[in-house]
């Protein structure tokens, strides 16, 4: 029984820590607009370079 209680407490503690860390992390990304900066400054320029190199079949 004690083992079970200890396990439940451990699970609750892990869930709380994961929740707090998750909140801090995602709220920081949200407030600093980090995902948009990353996409605009790095991901899209990389993809655009790739799209510009594509050979497309334009015969219709």
């Amino acid at each position: 029984m004690k083992k079970l209680i200890r396990l439940i407490l451990k699970l609750v503690r892990t869930a709380v820590i994961a929740g707090v860390v998750g909140f801090v992390l995602t709220f920081t990304i949200y407030m600093t607009n980090a995902e948009n900066k990353l996409i605009y400054d790095y991901v899209r320029p990389f993809l655009t370079k790739h799209y510009d190199k594509q050979a497309r079949d334009r015969r219709i």
């Binding site: 995602t26 949200y30 607009n33 948009n36 996409i39 605009y40 899209r44 993809l47 079949d57 219709i60």
Partner: protein, 537 residues
């Protein structure tokens, strides 16, 4: 206690709230943006504790919808991003949601985020489905059971084929994505023009043609229903697109609506066309039309339209926290893409109408009571400036109460008699996107004044798509009518999907000039009057 803590934090942090900054001469919405024209904010909008947290939760939901889309079939999604330029543009979706709801607070923000989440949910579901079944990327279990529809054909009638799935062909590669990224469609327009096509046509049709020439349509289904909706430029682009579909082994069937759609003859003609389109699908896919399945979806659509009619009554009051892009974008997606196929949208409508009813009971004044003018937005809007109504409210206090497209087909569909249902569906389909008032005779165009009066507007803003030959002919007539009826009136020049011809800044300038020179008013937020967003998505 909780209230006191929140109020304490709000007071300490209010200097970061752009609305407070504008009110107190300490900056405004553009203060938090980078000054490189990218439209990327250095940090997100601080809206006070409760609204910021609410917006954060909504953002998390959108992250969840996108994560779920990728998790369902990560390989196809990655292949799709690698294959299709337009998929790269969808990466701007988070910034898109931010900019269209900028400055929203309280109940306006509540509804906007409910709508925003519903839009992101349905778009991620549909993109996931399309890419999973795209024959170019390997295909899936539904590849041969999908029907391609021209995006201007309302898909409600396809609910009678419950084992098949109808997808609008152009919505993802060209239409909705132009809302998200203003720089995508100019690429496809250039492809069409470099092929030797005329550069002075409607940019929507030109962009669709460019997608076809660039071989950038996803490949699925055995049949595509092309159409003449909403106008004659669409007939031309349909002819180019069918060549590409034929190359992919997909048959094309022209589903032609009556152009003069306010007459019984016109309705009879469209009804017959609808009947023949159903027969064609039965023949190609070897399935029988299921009227009960149609009636089930029609009930969803009727439910949506009943609520829509009640919304219009509320929009006529000064107490509606639903207006501008929060209203029109949701309506466009719910009507043109969902069209009775997804009961989730009925739940969203039920939730939102409750908020609206409560707002009327409370005599709630939206936008902190800063609305100075109530405007009806007429004509198809610039797709590359979706956040225009947000800007008009934040900068000049012009509340776009309703948009022309939001008045699309709202007749009820009979859910018992197939013959009557076909008649109702024909009328419903004729009153489709960009077609209800811009095509089909002078009475349709001229209905703007009745709408503006009905919704207690003092201003009419008429979108002037410079490449639309049809509407170019009615300029002077509308100006005369505006004067006669006593509305503040301005034309808003734009090039629908080509942001280079008339950039967002020029659209703003048309309003700025009118508001400062003709109306002699001062902006609510001076940082919004003139700014550079040329390189923004």
């Amino acid at each position: 206690m909780k209230k006191e803590i929140i109020s304490f934090i709000d007071q300490k942090l209010q200097k970061y709230d752009p609305v407070w900054m504008a009110e107190n001469g300490a900056g405004g919405q553009r203060t938090r943006y980078r000054d490189d024209g990218s439209g990327i904010a250095r940090y997100r909008e601080w809206r006070g504790v409760e609204d910021t947290f609410q917006d954060y939760v909504s953002w998390l939901k959108n992250v969840g919808y996108m994560g779920a889309m990728v998790a369902k079939d990560p390989v196809k999604i990655m292949k799709g991003i690698w294959e299709y330029r337009w998929m790269g543009s969808f990466l701007g979706s988070f910034a898109f949601v931010d900019r269209i709801f900028e400055g929203y607070r309280g109940r306006e923000l509540d509804i906007a985020n409910i709508h925003g989440n519903a839009i992101v949910r349905i778009l991620t579901l549909r993109i996931g489905l399309i890419l999973h079944n795209d024959a170019r990327l390997g295909g899936g279990e539904m590849t041969d059971k999908m029907i391609g529809l021209d995006e201007t054909i309302p898909p409600l009638f396809t609910a009678g084929f419950p084992t098949l799935n109808a997808e609008p062909m152009q919505t993802m590669p060209e239409f909705v994505v132009c809302d998200v990224d203003q720089h995508l469609d100019p690429y496809y327009i250039d492809v069409a023009e470099s092929y030797g096509l005329a550069p002075d046509v409607c940019s929507r049709c030109s962009a669709e043609t460019g997608v076809a020439i660039d071989d950038a349509f996803p490949v699925f289904g055995k049949l595509v229903l092309s159409t003449n909706q909403p106008c004659n430029a669409s007939e031309a682009t349909s002819m180019f697109q069918r060549r590409r579909f034929h190359q992919k082994g997909i048959e094309d069937y022209p589903f032609v609506f009556a152009m003069q759609h306010n007459t019984k003859n016109g309705n009879d003609y469209s009804k017959e066309e609808l009947r023949q389109a159903i027969q064609k699908i039965e023949e190609v896919y070897g399935v029988k039309y299921d009227w009960d399945a149609l009636f089930k979806a029609a009930k969803n659509m009727n439910h949506q339209n009943r609520i829509e009619l009640e919304k219009w009554e509320i929009f006529a009051t000064p107490y509606s926290p639903l207006s501008g892009i929060s209203e029109s974008l949701y309506k466009l997606v719910e009507w043109a893409l969902v069209n009775g196929h997804d009961a989730y949208f009925n739940e969203v409508d039920d939730k939102v109408i409750e908020i609206l009813r409560q707002a009327v009971r409370d005599q709630y004044l939206p936008y902190k009571g800063k609305t100075r003018h109530r405007a009806f937005l007429w004509g198809p809007s610039a797709m590359y400036y979706t956040d225009f109504p947000t800007w008009t409210q934040n900068c000049w206090g012009i509340n776009i109460v309703l948009n022309m497209d939001s008045t699309m087909g709202h007749n009820m569909i009979n859910t018992e008699d197939p013959e009557q249902a076909l008649t109702d569906l024909a009328l419903f389909s004729e009153k489709g996107v960009m077609r209800h008032h811009a095509v089909g005779g002078w009475d349709n165009v001229n209905a703007v004044w009745e709408w503006a009066k009905r919704l207690n507007c003092d201003m009419v803003i008429c979108n002037d798509n410079v490449a639309c030959k049809g509407m170019n002919g009615v300029h002077a007539l509308l100006e005369e009518q505006a004067e006669a009826f006593g509305f503040h009136f301005l034309f808003l020049p734009h090039d629908l999907e080509d942001c280079r011809t008339i950039p967002r800044a020029e659209i703003r300038k048309a309003v700025n000039d009118y508001m400062s020179i003709v109306m002699g008013e001062e902006p609510l937020d001076p940082t919004l009057v003139d700014f550079d967003d040329a390189e923004a998505w």
